[in-house]
C-alpha cells in the first residue's frame, strides 16, 4: 500500500466535505448498517475476513488534511477499522444493548481531519446469534461500496470455510482518484455539462411533498414497508411486457406519485446513480455515487405503457451523463444558497443491495443510515424476486413521522394501483380511508337551523327589545322601535313601487343611518338588496344597474343618469307606514353582491335567506353574540363582510355602530370609534389590521372579538395583534358565493400555526379538497377547494352560463351542488384547511377580489392596446402591485389609457404601472412567458446599488471574489453570481481582513445577498458597540447566585476576562466593569475613588443577590479594592474581593513617567501580544495597523472606540499615581503570578496595611498570563470555593 499517496477531494467528496464542515456537529454523514447473523459463526474466520476486507478497502483508512485552504486525503493505516469484538452475552437484553451501542456510535459526529472514518464491531449475543456493525463516514464510501464490503467479507469467509476461491481483491483507491482526475479534464465532462444545461436550463421551480427548506437535519425518520409478492410479480410482468427494466418502472411510478402529490406540471426528482458501470469503482469501496435530476412530465391521460417507455429513455440518458456532479450542476444553474432546488424527493432503486450470503448462516441486513436526507427519499431495496422493501426516509424538519408513514402507505397503494392501470390519471392518490375522511369525517357539520328568513329574525328582535339602542351613527341613536318604524315606512313605499319577493332594490348610499334603513326596509318589503359603491366610477355603477335591472334605486342622486325613474332619494322616504305582509321563504333572494368578473363584466352573486341565516346564526352561537354586543360597521356594503356587520347585532338585540364614510381607512378614527362606543366586535381585512396595529392609537384597545377575512392572515400579524390589543382574533374564510364565510379558525395568542389555517367548516357546510378529476386528495396535498352545503349562493344573476361553470353537481353527494372556489388548499393532519393560493388569475389587493381578466378586458376596450396581460407583481415582499403589459395600438398614449381605465374600474383595479412592449414574450410552445415580462420601472429595488458603507465593501468583495469588474448590487446573491463553496471560504476570509468581522460561512448560505450580509455584519458591529458599556455580561448563569464583577485593567476593557468568566463552576453570571472614558464623549474620571463609586452605583443598580463578589487583574485589582471599600462604606456586604497580581499605588508613584509611546505599546499587551517582540511598533499608526491586521478583539474595534482605549491607557498612570488606598475590612484574596517579579520585590504583603485579612494564592504564571486559559484553570476553582464559602456564611 502506498501510504504516502495524497489526493485532493474528489468531485464526489467535495459536496459532502462542505456540508459536514458547515455543520460539524451533524452525525448524519455517518452511514451504517448491521448484519444480524444466526447460526454457527466461525468467529476467527469471520475476523480474518473482515480484517482482510478492511485492508483491501483503502477508503476505510482515509484521513483528511487541511493545508493552505486546500483539503487532501491520504491513507493512514492507523485508521484501518480492525474488527472489535464486544460480548453482550450477559446483558439483560443483548440485542437492545448492541443496537443502543451502535446507535450511539452512529450518532456521534466525526471530524474527518481527526477521526478514523470507519468502525467494524461484532457483538456476541449468544452462541448462535451475532450482530456485525459497520459504520463508515460518507466521505469514504457510498451505499454500493457498503454492499461491496459485506459481499467481499462473505466471499472471504466462505472461501476460508471451504467454499470457492475468492475473486480478485478490491482495486486500490488511487485508481478511483485517477478516474476522478481524468474525468475533471475530459471532453466527456464538458459534454455532460452541456447536456445538463440543455435539459435543466428551463426547469420549473421544483415542487416537493412538503413546504420548507430542504437542508438535512441531524437525524431522519425511517419507515419500512415490505411490498407483497403479488405486487412484485405484477411489477416484473408489467416491466417484461414492455421490455423495460423493473427498476425503471418503479422509478417512473415513484415520479408519478411525486408529480401528483406536489401538484406540479412535471416531476423533478433525484435519481441516485451509483456510477459503477465501466469504472474501477465497480470493485472499489469509495464515495462515487451522484444524484442527478430527472424531469418527467408524465401525461396522465396517455397510455401508461407509453409513459413508462418515455421515463425509461429519460433514465438511460440520465445515467449516461450521471457522473456530472449535481453540486456542480447547481452552481451551473445558479441554484446554490437560496431555497431553489435542483430536485425534490429522491426515488432510489437498489436491486444490488441484497444481504450477503454467508455459508451456513442466516443473515438479515438492517440499514441504519445512508447519509443526509434533505427532503424525502423513497428507496426500493431488493431484487423483486420477490423481496422488495419500500423505505421512506424523511427530514424531520419537513415531515412528521406520521406523514412519512402515510407517504409509505400511499405510495405502496399508488404503485399497486398503477401497475394495473391503463393511464396514470385513473389512479387515485388518496387511500380509501383518506378519501372517506376528506369527504365525510372532516365535514361532519350537520346542525339544526330554523327554516326562517333574515327578515323574520330582524323583526323578531325589533319586537323583543323595542327600547334598546339598535343603531348609532355619530351622535344619533335609533332604538329598535325607531328602526322598526322607519324601515316599515320605507318598506311600504318600496312595496308601493312594486318591490316584492325576488325584486331587486339597488342601494347607493354612503355609510349613514339611511343606508341601514334602506337595507332592512328592502328585506321587509320582500326584496333583495343590491349595494353599489359610490366610490366606483359612474360608468361601472351604470353598467351594473343596467345588467341587474333593479325595481328601485335608493340613492341621493341619479349617478350618471342610470337610475332614472327607479330613483327614490332619502329626502322622499316616508316616516310612517306599515310594512307589507310578505310570505317570504328561505329560498328567496336576500341580496346580490357584484364581484369582479374574469370576462370583463362584473358578476352579481345572488344569496338566499336560508344561506345567510345559517351563516348569521352560526356566528351568533359560535361567538356568543347577544344584547351586550356592539358591532362596528365599517366595511363598504359592496364587500360581503358587511352583511354580518349590518345584521348580526340587529338580530341579536345588540347595537350597530356605523362608522362615518371614509373612517374605515383611518386607524385613529377606528380606534376612536371603538373607545367612544365601547365596540365589542369588529372586522379587519388583514392588511388594514396591520396598518391599524402600527398606529399608536391601537395600543391597549380591548374588545371581545376581532374577525379577519378577505385575504391571508399572516402568522406574524397574529402575533403582533396579541402584543398590541386585548381581544380574541378569529380568521374567517369564504367567497361571496357561499354567504360570506364558510370556515373559521381561532387565532389566539397560543396558536403557533405557520401558515395559519382557514380552519374548520361552519354549520351545515362542507369544505372538500379535490383533484382535477374531482377525487379527494390526500392530507397535506394541494388541491382545489370546493364548498358544499346550505350556504351556497343560488348563482350569478342572469348568467346561467357562469353559474353552471362554477356551481357543479357534487359527484360524491348526488343531488347536491359544489362551488368551485378556484382556491388551492391543503388539509393539515388534524383536518384544518390551509389556503395555498389561486388556481387562476384572480388576485386580492387589500382584501378585494380582482379578476385580472376584467382589467385586461378594460385595457382592450380602451382601443389603445392590441394585446395585453395584467399581472399582480410582488417584487418586494408585501408590496403587491398591478402591472399592465401591452402592445400599443394606433394612437396609444399611457395617460389617456390610465384615464379610460379609471373611468371604468374601481381605483384598486387600475394598474400601478403600464409597460408597453413590441410583443408579449412567449415560451417555445407559444404560451405567454410570464417570467420574461420585465419588472416595471418603479422597481428601483430590483437593481438597487449598495448604499451603506458595509454594503459597499461587501459589494466590492463579491466582485473581487467572483472576478467581476462591477461591484455587485445590494440585492445580488453571491451564489447566483457564480459563487461556490470554495469562493465562499475566500469571501469570508476577505470579510475578516477588510471588516474585522467573522459572521461564519453558514451566515453566507443563509444570507447570500449583499444587503442581507451587510445587515448581519452591522448588527454584529452593534454588539461590539454594546460591548463598550460600563457593564457587559461576560457569562450568564444561575440568577439565584450572586454575580461576580470583574473590574477592567489599564485599557478600560473587560473582554479579557471572558475565559475566566466561563470557567466558573457552578455557572454564575459574571459582569465585566469597563471604563466610562472608553466613550470619547465622556469625561476622564477624576480619581480612582470617584471611578470606584461610579462602579458601585452600576453594580447596585442591577439589584442582583448579594454578597457582592468583586475582582480585578492588575490595575483592576486596585480599583476592585477601592470599590470594596466604597461598598463597605455604604453598608453593602462584600463577599470575594480578589486581586489578580495587583500591587499598591506606592509601588508605582516613584517610577519615572512612562513615555507616551510605551503607554501606546501597552495596547499590544492588552491585545494579547508580548510588546517586547515588536520593538519596531513605535507609533500610534503602526500599532493600530498591526492590531487591525491581527485577529484580536481590539483590532476589530471601531476607530472611535480605539481612541477611547488609547486615552484610557494613557490616563491610567495618572490615576494610579494619585491614588491613596483606604483600608478594607473584609478579606483580600491575592492571586500572585509567582513566576514574575524576579527583578522587583512585589509581594502580596504590601497590601497588609490596607487589608489585615490577607489570603494569598500563588500560581506558576507570569503577570500577563493570568487571564489566559491555563492560569484560569487554576484560578477559577480557587475563586469558586471562596465565593461559595461567602455565600454559605451569608445564608
Amino acid at each position: 500500500m502506498a501510504a504516502a499517496l495524497e489526493y485532493p477531494l474528489t468531485e464526489a467528496q467535495s459536496g459532502l466535505w462542505f456540508a459536514q464542515r458547515l455543520d460539524p456537529a451533524n452525525p448524519i454523514f455517518n452511514t451504517a448498517h448491521y448484519l444480524d447473523i444466526r447460526g454457527d459463526l466461525d468467529v476467527e474466520a469471520f475476523r480474518a475476513a473482515v480484517d482482510q476486507t478492511a485492508a483491501e478497502a483503502e477508503a476505510l483508512s482515509l484521513r483528511f488534511v487541511e493545508r493552505d485552504g486546500e483539503v487532501f486525503q491520504t491513507l493512514d493505516p492507523t485508521h484501518r477499522p480492525q474488527l472489535q469484538i464486544v460480548d453482550v452475552f450477559a446483558a439483560a437484553d443483548p440485542v437492545a444493548e448492541a443496537v443502543a451501542a451502535m446507535r450511539r456510535d452512529h450518532e456521534t459526529p466525526l471530524d474527518p481531519t481527526r477521526d478514523p472514518l470507519a468502525a467494524n464491531i461484532l457483538f456476541l449475543m449468544g452462541p448462535q446469534r451475532f450482530l456485525w456493525s459497520l459504520r463508515v463516514h460518507h466521505l469514504a464510501t457510498d451505499g454500493f461500496g457498503m454492499a461491496l464490503l459485506t459481499n467481499r467479507t462473505a466471499e472471504l469467509y466462505n472461501a476460508a470455510r471451504g467454499g470457492p476461491a475468492p475473486g480478485p481483491a478490491f482495486n486500490p483507491i488511487a485508481k478511483v482518484w485517477e478516474e476522478d482526475a481524468a474525468y475533471r479534464v475530459s471532453d466527456k465532462r464538458t459534454a455532460d455539462a452541456a447536456y445538463w444545461r440543455e435539459i435543466m436550463g428551463d426547469a420549473p421551480e421544483v415542487a416537493s411533498l412538503a413546504p420548507g427548506k430542504a437542508t438535512t437535519a441531524h437525524r431522519f425518520h425511517r419507515i419500512e414497508r415490505a411490498l407483497p409478492p403479488e405486487v412484485t410479480a405484477r411489477l416484473r410482468a408489467r416491466a417484461d411486457a414492455g421490455r423495460l427494466s423493473w427498476p425503471d418502472v418503479l422509478t417512473a411510478i415513484g415520479a408519478a406519485y411525486v408529480r401528483r402529490f406536489s401538484g406540479a406540471e412535471e416531476a423533478v426528482i433525484g435519481v441516485p446513480w451509483m456510477g459503477r458501470m465501466g469504472s474501477v469503482s465497480a470493485r472499489t469501496p469509495a464515495m462515487v455515487m451522484n444524484v442527478p435530476p430527472l424531469r418527467l412530465t408524465l401525461d396522465e391521460d396517455a397510455p401508461l405503457d407509453e409513459q413508462l417507455i418515455v421515463a425509461s429513455k429519460a433514465l438511460i440518458k440520465t445515467r449516461r451523463h450521471g457522473r456530472y456532479r449535481s453540486e456542480q450542476l447547481r452552481r451551473d444553474l445558479g441554484l446554490i444558497g437560496g431555497a431553489r432546488r435542483l430536485y425534490g424527493p429522491l426515488v432510489n432503486v437498489l436491486p444490488f443491495d441484497l444481504p450477503p450470503r454467508f455459508a451456513g448462516l442466516d443473515t438479515t441486513l438492517k440499514v441504519l443510515g445512508t447519509g443526509p436526507v434533505d427532503d424525502i427519499s423513497f428507496t426500493f431495496r431488493g431484487d423483486a424476486a420477490p423481496a422488495l422493501t419500500l423505505e421512506v426516509d424523511a427530514n424531520p424538519d419537513l415531515y412528521t413521522l406520521e406523514e412519512a408513514a402515510a407517504h409509505a402507505e400511499r405510495l405502496a397503494a399508488f404503485l399497486t394501483n398503477a401497475l394495473d392501470a391503463e393511464t396514470l390519471g385513473e389512479v387515485p392518490i388518496a387511500t380509501p380511508s383518506e378519501a372517506a375522511r376528506e369527504l365525510e369525517a372532516f365535514n361532519d357539520t350537520a346542525h339544526p337551523v330554523p327554516d326562517t328568513t333574515l327578515t323574520a329574525l330582524l323583526e323578531a328582535a325589533m319586537k323583543a327589545t323595542p327600547d334598546a339602542p339598535a343603531l348609532t351613527f355619530g351622535d344619533q341613536t335609533f332604538t329598535y322601535a325607531q328602526l322598526d318604524r322607519r324601515t316599515a315606512a320605507l318598506a311600504s313605499a318600496l312595496a308601493a313601487r312594486g318591490v316584492g319577493r325576488e325584486s331587486l332594490v339597488a342601494v347607493a348610499l354612503p355609510r349613514s343611518l339611511e343606508l341601514v334603513i334602506a337595507l332592512v326596509a328592502t328585506l321587509r318589503a320582500g326584496g333583495a338588496y343590491l349595494p353599489l359603491d359610490l366610490e366606483h366610477p359612474a360608468e361601472r355603477i351604470a353598467a351594473i344597474v343596467r345588467a341587474a335591472g333593479p325595481s328601485v334605486v335608493l340613492a341621493h342622486e341619479d349617478i350618471g343618469g342610470a337610475f332614472g325613474e327607479a330613483l327614490l332619494a332619502p329626502a322622499d322616504w316616508p316616516l310612517d307606514g306599515a310594512a307589507p305582509a310578505v310570505a317570504q321563504g328561505g329560498e328567496d333572494a336576500a341580496y346580490v353582491i357584484y364581484t369582479s368578473g374574469s370576462t370583463g363584466d362584473p358578476k352579481g352573486v345572488l344569496v338566499e335567506h336560508r344561506a345567510i341565516v345559517n351563516r348569521l346564526l352560526w356566528m351568533q352561537a359560535e361567538y356568543g353574540i347577544g344584547v351586550h354586543t356592539r358591532i362596528l360597521q365599517k366595511t363598504p356594503a359592496t364587500f360581503d363582510v358587511s352583511v354580518w356587520e349590518f345584521f348580526l347585532a340587529l338580530i341579536s338585540g345588540g347595537e350597530l355602530v356605523v362608522a362615518s364614510p371614509g373612517a374605515h381607512r383611518d386607524p385613529a378614527a377606528i380606534a376612536g370609534l371603538i373607545r367612544g362606543h365601547a365596540v365589542t366586535d369588529l372586522h379587519f381585512v388583514p392588511s388594514m389590521l396591520s396598518a391599524f396595529l402600527a398606529d399608536p392609537a391601537a395600543k391597549g384597545i380591548a374588545v371581545a372579538h376581532v374577525f379577519c377575512s378577505g385575504e391571508e392572515l399572516p402568522a406574524e400579524l397574529r402575533d403582533r395583534f396579541h402584543q398590541t390589543v386585548s381581544a380574541e382574533l378569529h380568521n374567517l374564510y369564504g367567497p361571496t358565493e357561499a354567504a360570506v364565510d364558510v370556515s373559521y379558525w381561532a387565532a389566539g395568542p397560543d396558536d403557533a400555526s405557520r401558515p395559519m389555517p382557514i380552519g374548520w367548516p361552519v354549520w351545515n357546510t362542507r369544505l372538500v379538497i379535490l383533484d382535477e378529476r374531482l377525487r379527494p386528495v390526500a392530507p397535506g396535498m394541494g388541491g382545489h377547494l370546493h364548498l358544499g352545503g346550505v350556504q351556497l349562493a343560488r348563482g350569478y344573476l342572469n348568467r346561467p352560463d357562469l353559474t353552471e361553470d362554477r356551481f357543479i353537481p357534487d359527484p360524491h353527494h348526488p343531488g347536491q351542488r359544489l362551488y368551485r372556489t378556484g382556491d388551492v388548499a391543503r388539509r393539515r393532519a388534524d383536518g384544518a384547511v390551509v389556503y395555498l393560493g389561486r388556481s387562476d388569475h384572480q388576485v386580492k389587493i387589500r382584501g378585494l377580489r380582482i379578476e385580472l381578466g376584467e382589467i385586461e378586458a378594460a385595457v382592450i376596450a380602451s382601443g389603445l392596446a392590441r394585446e395585453t396581460v395584467v399581472l399582480a407583481r410582488e417584487d418586494r415582499p408585501g408590496e403587491r402591485r398591478l402591472v399592465a403589459y401591452l402592445v400599443p395600438a394606433e394612437g396609444y398614449d399611457p395617460a389617456a389609457l390610465k384615464a379610460k381605465l379609471a373611468a371604468r374600474l374601481p381605483d384598486y383595479m387600475v394598474p400601478a404601472a403600464i409597460v408597453a412592449l413590441d410583443a408579449l414574450p412567449t415560451t417555445s410552445n407559444g404560451k405567454l412567458d410570464r417570467k420574461a415580462l420585465p419588472a416595471p420601472v418603479f422597481e428601483a429595488a430590483a437593481g438597487r446599488a449598495a448604499e451603506t458603507p458595509t454594503e459597499k465593501i461587501i459589494a466590492e468583495l463579491f466582485a473581487e471574489t467572483l472576478g467581476r469588474s462591477e461591484p455587485a448590487g445590494a440585492d445580488d446573491d453571491f451564489f447566483t453570481l457564480g459563487g461556490d463553496s470554495l469562493l465562499a471560504v475566500h469571501l469570508m476570509m476577505l470579510i475578516r481582513e477588510r471588516l474585522g468581522r467573522d459572521p461564519g460561512l453558514g451566515a453566507l448560505f443563509d444570507r447570500p445577498r449583499v444587503a442581507e450580509l451587510a445587515a448581519l455584519i452591522d448588527a454584529e458591529a452593534l454588539d461590539f458597540d454594546n460591548g463598550l458599556g460600563v457593564l457587559i455580561r461576560l457569562a450568564e448563569g444561575d440568577p439565584a447566585l450572586p454575580p461576580l464583577f470583574l473590574i477592567h485593567p489599564a485599557g478600560g476593557l473587560s473582554w479579557g476576562y471572558r475565559t475566566l468568566a466561563r470557567a466558573l463552576s457552578p455557572r454564575r453570571t459574571v459582569w465585566g466593569v469597563q471604563s466610562p472614558a472608553l466613550d470619547p464623549q465622556n469625561a476622564l474620571p477624576d480619581c480612582i475613588e470617584g471611578l470606584a463609586s461610579v462602579y458601585v452605583d452600576h453594580i447596585l443598580a442591577l439589584g442582583a443577590p448579594g454578597p457582592v463578589h468583586i475582582a480585578g487583574w492588575s490595575v483592576g485589582g486596585i480599583i476592585a479594592q477601592a470599590a470594596a471599600v466604597e461598598l463597605e462604606r455604604r453598608g453593602v456586604k462584600v463577599g470575594l474581593m480578589a486581586m489578580l497580581d495587583s500591587y499598591p499605588a506606592e509601588c508605582w508613584r516613584a517610577e519615572p513617567e512612562p513615555d507616551p509611546v510605551d503607554a501606546m505599546r501597552a495596547l499590544l499587551a492588552i491585545a494579547g501580544y508580548d510588546p517586547t517582540q515588536y520593538p519596531e511598533l513605535r507609533s500610534r499608526a503602526a500599532i493600530v495597523a498591526f492590531l487591525k491586521a491581527g485577529d484580536s478583539a481590539l483590532g476589530g474595534l471601531p476607530e472611535a472606540a480605539l481612541d477611547g482605549v488609547i486615552r484610557v491607557v494613557l490616563d491610567t498612570n495618572r490615576l494610579v499615581r494619585e491614588h491613596h488606598h483606604r483600608p478594607f475590612g473584609g478579606r483580600t484574596t491575592h492571586v500572585r503570578a509567582a513566576l514574575d517579579h524576579k527583578d522587583r520585590d512585589l509581594t502580596p504583603g504590601l497590601w497588609r496595611p490596607y487589608s489585615p485579612d490577607l489570603d494569598v494564592v500563588e500560581v506558576p504564571f507570569l503577570h500577563p498570563q493570568l487571564t489566559g486559559p491555563a492560569a484560569t484553570a487554576l484560578i477559577a476553582p480557587e475563586l469558586d470555593a471562596r465565593m461559595t464559602a461567602f455565600e454559605e456564611i451569608a445564608r
Binding site: 461491496l148 459481499n151 470457492p164 476461491a165 475473486g167 480478485p168 421490455r243 427494466s245 427498476p247 425503471d248 446513480w273 451509483m274 459503477r276 458501470m277 465501466g278 469504472s279 474501477v280 465497480a282 470493485r283 433514465l315 438511460i316 445515467r319 449516461r320 432503486v349 436491486p351 444490488f352 431484487d383
Partner: protein, 87 residues
C-alpha cells in the same frame, strides 16, 4: 423457463441477451462496442448478470468494471473455468 446451464452460457448467448435488452438484433452488437454507449446502464447490466448467474456464480461488480461484450465474456470464462467447466 428452463434453467440456464453452464453450457448454455456462450458468447453468442450473451450477445443475444444484450441485444434483446437494447431492442436490437444480435449482429449489431460487436465484441468491442462500448455497451454503455449503446444504452446498457447499470440496472440493465445487473439484470443480465442476475440472469447469467443461474449458470455460474457471477459478481455484478466484476462485470461492471468492463464496458464491452468481450470484457464480460472474459469474466464469465474465468468464472466458468474456476467452476470446472470448459469455456
Amino acid at each position: 423457463m428452463t434453467k440456464l446451464t453452464p453450457q448454455d452460457l456462450t458468447l453468442e448467448r450473451m450477445r443475444a441477451d444484450v441485444a434483446a435488452v437494447l431492442h436490437e438484433t444480435p449482429d449489431s452488437i460487436l465484441d468491442d462496442d462500448n455497451l454503455m454507449d449503446l444504452g446498457v446502464d447499470s440496472l440493465r447490466a445487473l439484470n443480465l448478470s442476475l440472469a447469467w448467474s443461474e449458470a455460474v456464480p457471477l459478481e455484478f461488480s466484476e462485470l461492471a468494471e468492463h464496458t464491452t461484450l468481450a470484457g464480460w465474456w472474459s469474466v464469465v470464462q474465468a468464472r466458468l473455468r474456476a467452476a470446472g467447466h470448459d469455456a
